[in-house]
Symmetry: D2
Subunit: 322 residues, 4 copies
């Protein structure tokens, strides 16, 4: 024993770290949904030493994870037989299909904690919470702020709402993914309401930048000049800088935040607002601007393509031509 | 001469600095309009060594400047007999009254540069530029971003549009006021269009924060929690942090940016947009929210009082009571 | 035979009428949904001589029909065993529950024509059309314009979309209900799109009247004077006159067109618009005004209670008090 | 005398009529502004037997009136030397130029009644009322509803606000122009507020028809079919029928109500609303839709060209092409 200790000392490993490492290896973690976000998040969990089993609808996405050391499940039910399940699916439809309608919850052991990172409707969160509770499963709503590169760096802002004991249990996992974990109380839907409100604000910021930029262009100021000014002074923050750059460069593909997903989120915010009788006049404007962008062919573009709508409304081209 | 040089060396003063200092003392600068902003700006010019003569409608505001070493003019025409005139008046009405209708321009020497820092309408800027040109006066539009505390620290963002030679001449003065000077070309109205667009974006940011915050409050998340989250992550920039703090604390007086002035600026942005046929749907919403705030008694409040409008629309109180 | 004819002559009955009467008695008609509208419509069908069997969730509503000569079914499936089924249910939820999820369609004979008068979503219409087609049933979308008193007078405007042969077959029934039948082609959803567009226009008309009336009140013109003027001149039509009267008299209960149903219809119009990427900026404003009305307690009021929202926004009371 | 009476009897003329006729000939009436509306109105006054002197900026428009028997004044001051002055000028600018800045009021005899039919800003009405009062002149605000053909038929709806005695004096003249005169009290601006509110409602009706029509077109219903339905049922009134016809036929020139004038009136309504702190969310939407129409080249078109904006937003053409 002494000898063992001295070897550890020689190797510069302390007992605490070793124990934590072993705990991680013993913790079996499932991860469902390996899009750009999910893949980056699951990779970090593997890298942190967790025993991770992944599943994804299309198998291609699982290869990278397998190469990092994750187990790959052929069916979702084989990915959920651990202590914790993460899921990062695209929208209400996917979550309903994979989690609810498939009967997956019936295959999970009581006590399992399901951490749902998806941006989904309040209505679905409530239904999920209920269905988990019925089966003795824990449900933690944990939507995240951050793009894939932020996820890859383990620097997400992770919201977390659910039973305190469940959050405590999975806290080390969330810490792997996050620069900061933001507890939102024990009602899961709160985390989702905050996520929808945040995404609404992102779209509002982009629309305001689009309208302001077209106004100043009409007076002869280039989009690049205007956006450099406002995004390094009053609005020196990630949202304005990221989307502003795309606007200044008129580069709307490939999408960072796909415009149709932005519309989906604004509509989910409107639904959430409707359920609680909260008028949100800006949301109505955003919905229509996004719809107008889609009608004009922005299906595959980034949210910053809202700039195209503002420019078209003002018929900005006629000025540039003359 | 050698002796003189060695004294300077002993005193650790170099020739360049001395020359610059003398140049400043020789440059006669007028400053009209000593509100919170103008007072801070003029003080910095005095501190930098310029020979400053100030005028203000109410004399009380001139005392501080006098104590710092400025000359005080009894009438505006005595303040404009230098090389450069700064003016920082509240709105179109004041600028018309003090600068145009008073005949002040006729008392100025040809070649004088007038630096107008006010946030005014495009229409008035065009008229001012024309009236200055007629008389051989130089007009530089130089609206600023920053509150009084930023002005006091000499850290404003100063836009500058006008003839290049005129801007070059007054550049040292602007550098005293600014953390950065943003040249906007030789058409004065461009600087004002950018200023109006920026203020429009500020109001849009506040309205979006107000709506989002009421949505999340309806789901049980406190305004303080929500605003801390978004203003330290996605929107970690001065505008969201400053107004967000006021919202979180429900502290709307005294105003930093008075709500009626915010409405004035949104309406000026709408006017500028109208003149160039630029639809701005968000601006329409902001105008009505601000008007609703005024109708509900926010005359003396800060722009962040838009949060009261959102809360009233959703009848948020009934929830808090129950 | 001759003798028979002479008796008919004596009785002033001609063969054509008699035949039509007999045809009606032979035609078995089901009617599901006896709210204010459905009850008035079914009554007219009975009065016209059809052999009508009615069903309603709450039995109370069936008594009046029974007293007029209708048969009353205990369960929906007993009401649908005729040649034609009318249904007039309140919303998507009721239609799904009673028609789709109940298995009712499986109990109907191939060839039966189902005339659905409900104002429902495009999505549900498409699903209904498909489910009927699968089973060899005919689906005619026949939403109506008109309030209960108009229905009672048999003066509805009835839209009708579906297979031409099916519409022809039921045309005599529609004629009983309508002052005019408006054929909308063979795609059922078209009739529903028109109905939603019409209801959207009704709400827009009311909101515009509310805003205009508050503006003129702020200048000292009474709501009654303003509304009399516009609703007997420029806008001398049923919608402005009906809702205008309620506004002028500040009488918002009992509802003619319940405000929550108006919100439902505006949201269905928005959904229909979203599916086809049609921006509708007015619809966004209407949604929020209606939501604001509900947040302020207008749950049981008429659509004309939008006037309360406009008045509150302008804080009109402070003027009236002073 | 007896003989005279018997002649009158023979000629079927009664004393009352003769006296009224003589009174009219004795009343000297000035009329300034002979656009499409003014020309029709002045013609009716001449036809009714009044002694009318007209003035118009461009002389061409005076010829028709001269041929009907009006006197033509070379300068405005010669047109105002009667008992009553009508003016029907295009906008604030014209009214300011012709009535206020020209010194015209100083040439009028105290007691003269000026009936201003123009649709102008509240602010200008207040100023006009004050300037008239100072000089002992009576000011009656009498904006009208109705297009040129209605004016020609003497069937306008004429609002009238001003001192009761002044209105009484000119009532016979207004009756010549109107199917109905609507007294609006003694504060002139009230009549203008009502006029602006009415025009706002007209634009709102058109925009709602445009949006609804594009929605139904997206579902395959022709604009003609939809507009026939709604404008002969729910909205069977002049506004919907007139503008609806233009929309159905896609015929936007020549303008009945020119789109730029519609924008002017919406903006005047917004100004009036701003002055009294009345939020009008629909007005904001209308302003932007009109601006978008102008940016797309609708300068010379009718208000019904709002349909083009709705269609472009939804990119309706792609459907029609496919």
């Amino acid at each position: 024993m002494r000898k063992h200790a001295s070897i550890l000392q020689t190797l510069n490993i302390d007992h605490g770290e070793l124990d934590a490492c072993k705990r991680r290896q013993r913790m079996k973690v499932g991860f469902i949904g390996l899009g750009a976000m999910g893949s980056a998040m699951a990779s970090n969990l593997v890298a942190a030493g967790y025993n991770v089993t992944v599943w994804n609808r299309s198998e291609a996405a699982t290869e990278k994870l397998a190469s990092l050391g994750a187990k790959v499940a052929r069916t979702p039910d084989r990915a959920v037989q651990g202590d914790v399940l993460h899921s990062m699916l695209a929208n209400d439809q996917s979550v309903r299909a994979v989690i609810l309608d498939s009967g997956l919850l019936d295959t999970m052991d009581p006590g399992t904690v399901h951490i749902n990172h998806a941006t989904i409707s309040i209505e679905l969160v409530r239904q999920l919470a209920e269905e988990h509770a019925k089966r003795g499963l824990e449900y933690v709503a944990a939507p995240v702020f951050g793009r894939p590169d932020v996820a890859a760096a383990g620097k997400l802002n992770v919201l977390a709402a659910g039973k305190a004991s469940a959050i405590e249990k999975v806290r080390p996992l969330l810490d792997v993914l996050a620069s900061k974990v933001w507890p939102m109380g024990d009602t899961p839907e709160r985390a989702n309401a905050v996520k929808l409100a945040g995404n609404f604000m992102i779209v509002a910021a982009i629309e305001s930048m689009a309208e302001a930029s077209v106004l100043t262009q009409a007076y002869g100021v280039s989009a690049a000049d205007f956006i450099e000014l406002i995004s390094t002074t009053l609005f020196a923050s990630p949202v304005y800088q990221g989307y502003g750059k795309a606007m200044a460069e008129q580069r709307f593909t490939p999408p960072g935040f796909a415009l149709p997903l932005g519309l989906k989120d604004v509509m989910l915010a409107q639904e959430a607002a409707h359920a609680e009788q909260v008028p949100m006049p800006l949301a109505g404007v955003l919905r229509d601007s996004l719809l107008e962008a889609l009608a004009d062919g922005a299906e595959g573009m980034d949210l910053s393509a809202l700039a195209r709508v503002s420019a078209r409304r003002a018929n900005l081209d006629r000025r540039n031509k003359s």
